[in-house]
């Protein structure tokens, strides 16, 4: 067969290192078709479906960010709703100041990133489970502080201004597009982030933190970058949430349920894979739509399913699929393959 011409070990003809086991052309063409379809969706599908898709995108954004934190950087946060809420309230604040709500999305994400920096200096003092609790305290504190600010509606909430001069169909189309673009930017951004040098550092920390440190990886700063990026992403999710459901209330925006959904979706789909949270979100929405009439049963079933996955299939559904078929739609790792001696 072919002779190997790669560096290092590969020169001996013993192993081959590849990004992907199949041609990236398939993924690229598939992704392009999907992007075109989803961009045109609000003009094609009925309004209810577009609304469901929007909520789906919001969940995908949050889950992708949570997966970046937990699956790649080993930080289990149960307080990401802090940044969802702060993002929503930043949007409300800017809109009250007269900025177009759609323009505020990147501003809100930036605001959350700025707030996240000092937060890391506090919460990084604790590890493992106590880190999780600290993030929760941060979320609770942020909610309580926001609830005391009368200008932002205090504890009862306030309607987001700036959307009323658009027609209902314009509002629906624009907010759909905004949500979809944010989701696309977050997923593609995460993909490139993980293929960068930072992604390599994160992989080395995940595999062996002590070895990564001794090889010169700056573990703390890598984690800090991830935490800030995840805060910005959740802030953007909060901003589009505020636009799609324009009555802003502390108990809704800072709801613990956001954290629960991000976590379940990532676990079921597969921690540490980009595809996992997306697949988990699809399963979540199918279940939620099917069991709509049965109150909170969808959450009970989904939670039980997530616990079972964590115990018996910790790599999640996509992780299990990938391990069996050696395939990734969005390859961020490398496959090492042994070449059979002739």
């Amino acid at each position: 067969m072919s002779t190997t011409n790669n560096a290092g070990l590969e020169q001996n003809g013993l192993i081959a290192v590849r990004r992907s086991t199949h041609s990236p052309i398939f993924t690229l063409v598939g992704a392009l078709i999907l992007v075109v379809l989803l961009t045109a969706a609000p003009w094609i599908v009925p309004a209810e479906i577009a609304t469901t898709l929007m909520n789906f995108f919001i969940l995908v954004i949050m889950a992708t960010m949570w997966n970046l934190l937990a699956g790649y950087a080993g930080m289990i946060s149960i307080g990401q709703q802090a940044f969802v809420g702060l993002g929503a309230y930043a949007t409300l604040y800017f809109a009250l100041k007269g900025v177009n709500p759609f323009v505020t999305i990147p501003l809100s994400a930036l605001a959350c990133a700025v707030i996240a920096v000092p937060v890391t200096y506090l919460v990084f003092r604790l590890r493992g489970g106590y880190f999780s609790i600290a993030t929760w305290v941060i979320a609770d504190t942020a909610m309580l502080i926001i609830g005391t600010i009368a200008m932002l509606g205090g504890g009862t909430g306030r309607l987001m201004p700036g959307l009323q001069n658009l027609s209902p169909s314009e509002t629906a189309h624009y907010s759909y597009l905004a949500t979809w673009i944010v989701a696309l930017v977050v997923v593609v951004g995460t993909y490139y982030l993980l293929r960068s040098r930072l992604g390599l550092v994160l992989a080395s920390i995940r595999d062996n933190e002590v070895a990564a440190r001794s090889a010169g990886a700056n573990v703390r700063s890598a984690r800090r970058i991830v935490f800030v990026v995840a805060a910005a992403g959740c802030g953007a999710a909060g901003a589009v949430l505020a636009i799609s459901q324009p009555f802003i209330q502390p108990t809704n925006e800072f709801n613990m349920q956001w954290a629960a959904e991000m976590l379940f979706v990532s676990m079921i789909g597969g921690l540490g894979t980009i595809e996992g949270p997306i697949i988990g979100s699809i399963i979540f929405f199918v279940l939620q739509q099917t069991l709509q009439q049965q109150g909170v049963w969808y959450l009970i079933i989904f939670g039980t399913f997530a616990v079972a996955i964590a115990l018996w299939q910790p790599r999640g559904l996509w992780g299990a699929f990938r391990d069996r078929f050696h395939t990734e739609l969005l390859p961020v790792g490398h496959w090492v393959r042994e070449i059979k001696a002739e």
Binding site: R125, G129, Y130, I133, D140, F264, G295, V296, L299, A310
Partner: protein
């Protein structure tokens, strides 16, 4: 006098937080497990006391006599099955599994018992209080809860210091492998620690139901306070948990005195200040963090 009352009420509240938190402290100290379903277990105990023990013709006041041992048993079984299985994976799995359980339990309770508030009926005792000075009222129930917290912590300390099983628990907590090499069955010891933790959380849950109204969502808030008490007092220190609980209770009462909106906020701020200047807590060892 007003401030004295604030401090007294804070200490009483702190006693409840300590009772709530000591199981958490024990689980973390011995099993190195953070049980995020701890608060929901307490709420389940309170629901059992209200809805199931009346069927056995036991007055709700005495329901803890039957609920606490049952929860001890449940703790042992849950540890030997679910929690042990997740410990065998890695520490992350225990967090994910217990958080998942917490959400499932909370929503199941919502589905079965609705979001309506419930109380553990203790008759006229709820309104009785000791009235030592003009504006100071000390509720007998709160006093009993504080006394129960001190008693539970003292008994735990005696158990860990003077009994053979207690020594085994400490040995496993210090160094699991070494204890195993000396013949200790660490899974059984973990089960015993979990049994004690669940029994104390059942007490805390019923105490909560006696003191105030509870609903399916009460677990999360109280868990947050319990964790704050543990971190303020110092991770892995039993008496530190009592001091942490009292510090948290006093901070919350001060906040509430300024403005009822600030009650929880004041506690959270105390937690964040402790985290910023003394992350190992008031009585903790530096090593507990790493």
């Amino acid at each position: 006098m007003i401030w004295l009352n604030v401090i007294i009420q804070g200490v009483l509240l702190g006693g409840f937080y300590a009772l709530f938190a000591c199981g958490l402290s024990l689980m973390f100290g011995v099993l190195k497990v953070i049980n995020l379903a701890h608060g929901d277990m307490a709420v389940v105990a309170a629901y059992v006391a209200v809805f199931l023990t009346p069927h056995l013709h036991i007055p709700e006041v005495w329901s803890f006599l039957i609920v606490v041992p049952i929860f001890g048993l449940i703790g042992y079984v849950v540890q030997r099955t679910l929690i042990q299985k997740s410990i065998d994976r890695d520490p992350f799995t225990t967090l994910l599994v217990t958080f998942g359980l917490s959400v499932v339990i909370e929503n199941l309770l919502l589905e079965v018992y609705t979001a309506n508030g419930q109380t553990v009926n203790i008759g006229a005792l709820i309104t009785k209080s000791w009235h030592p000075a003009s504006i100071i009222y000390i509720s007998y129930v709160s006093l009993a809860v504080l006394a129960a917290a001190v008693l539970v912590l003292a008994l735990l300390q005696l158990f860990l210091s003077y009994t053979g099983t207690g020594r085994l628990v400490r040995a496993v907590a210090d160094d699991r492998e070494a204890a195993q090499l000396s013949g200790a069955n660490y899974r059984h010891i973990f089960g015993i620690a979990a049994a004690i933790a669940f029994a104390t959380v059942a007490m805390a849950g019923i105490a909560f139901g006696m003191m105030t109204q509870f609903a399916p969502t009460s677990g999360g808030v109280n868990l947050l306070f319990a964790f704050e008490a543990v971190v303020i007092g110092g991770i892995g220190s039993l008496w530190g948990t009592l001091v942490g609980g009292i510090a948290l209770g006093v901070a919350q009462q001060f906040g509430a005195h300024l403005n009822p909106q600030y009650q929880v906020l004041a506690g959270n701020l105390l937690f964040l200040v402790v985290l910023a200047i003394r992350p190992q807590g008031l009585f903790g060892k530096r090593t507990a963090l790493l």
